[in-house]
């Protein structure tokens, strides 16, 4: 025991004398933290949704490179050969190195947490459970590091083997790239890697409902860690020349891998493929809404600590269907922001005009970019034929039809039917101008964002300007900017804004105004894009064309909803 402590102390001391180890151990976690901060700079609360990923990257780096590099370099240079002459066990030699690494990882994790809190992240919600989760993650990954150390004959081999595990885990293992952004097959594959379980366990402790929600992940981590520890012990070599002789030899590697497979198979069997974490942006992944029923959705467990009032505005944004009492933790009180025209009215509103016959909609194909960063202009039938290079021609009204209205008041239903093509709009569940469906649920953080937005929107100055067209334009800029920045709230904001617009403008006028905006997306004042601060949304890009373009699309989408030409799905 004394020997182990002395070794631990020596290991730590030597670590802090090694500049390369310090760079790997502390500079990298800091760099990752800054990278994530930049990447997710529009999150309302910095980094809180990504602490699980950040901490996992840190542990993974320490396990794939730090630990095995230390072990292999000591073995390679013959330090172990000398230690072996003393009455110490292999367990003590390796145990002290692993324990030292665990301490170092805790220091790196604390560094990350403190830095994140300096940026504005709140204190983790379940600190003790975070410690438990972190220990389980460290156990799983350090076991992995031990196996790497026993397999690698020298330090370059550690680098190669480590990369083989580090990079795939980062990219398709659900560590650096959110699971929700991955295709289906990758989500299934990630169930066989420990990375995603680490992220889930840590994340639920940081801002979720605690470890109760991630029991499976914890179990997976401990299983993988135990199998690796056994394999690492069995494969242990005092020096690299020693072959894998006796006692199963390399067969123990298989034993370690069997644990990964077993965890993956269990995850498949229990329907644990979809992430239990709230999706970053639900609209970006088709598979996310289909969360298996066995998986506890973040909102499924009632958490008394969350004040009910914090959710009161949510129904206004995404009306929950009454058939979902199980997921309802919402307050029974009626949503105050939801005015007389509840969002459901979109669907029930009678069509203002009959649908145009199919033949009349045979307009020339439009260059609608569904996923690109520079989608085409709003789906105005005739206008883009003139110049596809310019995103939105300045005066499309002058181009085709002779009887184009000269002011928004002169717009007729006939103009709408002639000019707008509702069935070519980008889908509401896509990445471009998304709108939430009624069964989509914002998670807790997003709900808070939406509450703030719903409370601030009625008092927002650009939303109260006298000119009704400018007012609608300004309001439509809000979801457009949110969409450009791909904020997690992007599918919900349009519903809130649509409500606000419908409350302010009589329907007859609104139809005309929306048409006007759709046909003239580039007109009007764009200064509102730089005045979004009061709404809790970062100001939009200085290049307005993207914002105006999306506002045009949202105008057509809203127009489709209130006229019934394209009911909300």
């Amino acid at each position: 025991m004394r020997a182990l402590l002395q070794q631990l102390r020596t290991s730590l001391r030597l670590h802090f004398r090694n500049p390369m180890a310090l760079i790997y151990g502390y500079a990298f976690p800091t760099i990752f933290l800054i990278a994530f901060w930049v990447l997710y700079r529009y999150d309302r609360v910095p980094l809180v949704r990504h602490m699980g990923e950040l901490l996992t990257v840190t542990v993974l780096g320490g396990a794939c490179f730090g630990l095995p590099t230390t072990l292999v370099s000591e073995r390679e240079r013959g330090v172990w050969r000398r230690i072996r002459l003393a009455p110490v066990s292999m367990l003590s030699v390796v145990g002290s190195t692993v324990a030292a690494r665990y301490v170092l990882l805790i220091l790196a994790a604390l560094l990350q947490i403190v830095l994140a809190m300096l940026i504005g992240m709140p204190f983790p919600r379940h600190p003790i459970q975070l410690g438990i989760a972190f220990t389980a993650v460290a156990f799983a990954f350090l076991g992995l590091g031990m196996v790497i150390a026993t397999l690698a004959d020298n330090v370059p081999a550690v680098q190669a083997l480590g990369q083989c595990i580090f990079l795939p885990m980062l990219i398709i293992g659900g560590v650096a790239v959110p699971l929700a952004s991955l295709p289906d097959w990758a989500q299934h594959l990630s169930a066989f890697f420990p990375g995603r379980y680490a992220v889930e366990a840590l994340q639920t402790a940081v801002n979720g409902n605690g470890l109760a929600a991630s029991r499976f992940s914890l179990l997976a981590l401990v299983t993988i860690g135990a199998a690796s520890a056994i394999a690492g012990t069995r494969l242990f070599r005092w020096d690299a020349q020693q072959r894998f002789v006796g006692r199963g030899g390399k067969g123990w590697i298989a034993a370690a891998l069997v644990a990964w497979v077993a965890v993956g198979v269990a995850a498949e069997a229990k329907g644990r493929i979809a992430s239990i974490l709230p999706a970053e942006s639900p609209a970006t992944s088709a598979s996310t809404p289909s969360t298996p029923s066995t998986s506890p959705a973040p909102t499924a467990s009632v958490e008394p600590s969350a004040p009910p009032s914090s959710r009161s505005a949510v129904p206004a944004a995404a009306p929950p269907t009454p058939q979902q009492p199980s997921t309802s933790t919402r307050a029974p009180s009626p949503p105050p922001e939801a005015g007389p025209t509840a969002p459901n009215d979109h669907a029930s509103a009678p069509p203002a005009t009959p649908h145009p016959p199919a033949g009349e909609r045979s307009s020339p194909p439009l260059p609608l970019g569904m996923t690109g960063a520079m989608p085409g202009p709003p789906p105005v039938a005739n206008a883009p034929a003139t110049s596809p290079e310019t995103p939105a021609p300045p005066k499309p009204a002058e181009t085709a039809s002779g009887h184009e209205p000269t002011s928004w008041q002169a717009v007729t239903m006939q103009n709408i039917d002639d000019k707008l093509v509702f069935d070519r709009l980008p889908p509401d569940n896509g990445v471009f101008t998304p709108i939430a469906t009624s069964d989509q649920q914002p998670d807790q953080d997003v709900s808070a964002d939406l509450d703030a937005l719903a409370a601030a929107l009625p008092d927002w100055t650009p939303g109260k300007v006298a000119d009704p067209v400018q007012r609608v334009r300004n309001l439509l800029y809000v979801p457009s900017v949110v969409d450009i920045f791909q904020l997690p709230s992007e599918p919900y904001v349009p519903l809130l804004v649509f409500d606000q617009i419908e409350q302010q403008i009589p329907k007859e006028d609104l139809i005309k105004i929306l048409y006007w905006i759709a046909v003239h997306p580039d007109q009007g004042d764009g200064s509102a894009v730089q005045a979004l601060g009061p709404l809790g949304i970062p100001n939009g890009p200085s290049d307005l064309s993207e914002v105006r373009n999306r506002a045009g699309y949202y105008a057509v989408k809203l127009l489709g909803r209130i006229t019934g030409k394209r009911p909300g799905k």
């Binding site: 004394r2 020997a3 402590l5 002395q6 070794q7 020596t10 001391r13 030597l14 004398r17 090694n18 000591e74 240079r77 013959g78 330090v79 050969r81 000398r82 230690i83 072996r84 002459l85 003393a86 009455p87 110490v88």
Partner: protein, 305 residues
Amino acid sequence: MPAKVIVRDLQKRYGRVEAARGVSFEIHDGEIFGLLGPNGAGKTTTIECVIGLRDPDAGQIDVCGIDARQQPREVKQRIGASLQSTALQDKITPREALELFGSFYRKHLDPVALLERFSLAEKADVAFDTLSGGQRQRLALALAFVNDPELIFLDEPTAGLDPQSRRELHAEIARMKQDGHTVLLTTHDMDEAQALCDRIAILDHGRIIATGTPTELTTRSAGQHLVSIVVTRAIDAAWLADLPSAQDVTVDGERARFHTTQPSRAVSLLLSRLQAANAELVDLHVQKATLEDVFIELTGAALRD
């Protein structure tokens, strides 16, 4: 005198290779014992079994009265060892290394005293990778002494050292003996073995082929002497014919050498023949057989391959 180490009928095989085929020897308390043998003779295997790193297939090993096969850890508590090249972490200091290794043993000496004794006090707090070869060797010895061992094992202690460090180390080993330590060492250097060791065992093909004091071994070697001459002109092989008990005669231009058990008779006959042939003597050497000669005679191989 009680035996510090008793090895009886030690056997160890790796697959088809028999590394030790019944090795037996004893090391007495307080002596310096040298284990010699060509590469592959089974030296390493024998030593690893003695110091508790390897378990033999058969045989008995007692170290300091402890059954090394039953309690290898207990044996390690009582012995100190210094390997051919002792490697430590780059950034560890001698003081830290002594503290660390001291923590491995029940009984351990004060690092400061060890640093003093091995002239490392000035270098106590510098990183291992800045130490010179001689300083590293002294640190290795200090580490071997950290548990105040009864038996010290030195593997090729002077290999790769400059002459100065080598002389210092020889003095240090002699001092170990004076302090009452028992020393087991292996070496390639016959002069070193001859100068330092009280007794020597020669190992070949997994067996001890000779044991004794250096003097015993050299005299036992059939009293062979080596005679070598150099003359002013090319030597005629006939001059060297039929010299008394001459063996291994080699002639090379003006030089010639042979072994004989009767050096004075052989040399006087040779000199009279030189005189008759009017060849002047340039150089004449008569040497007693060295340990190396004994070794080559016994094993048929040079120590350095």
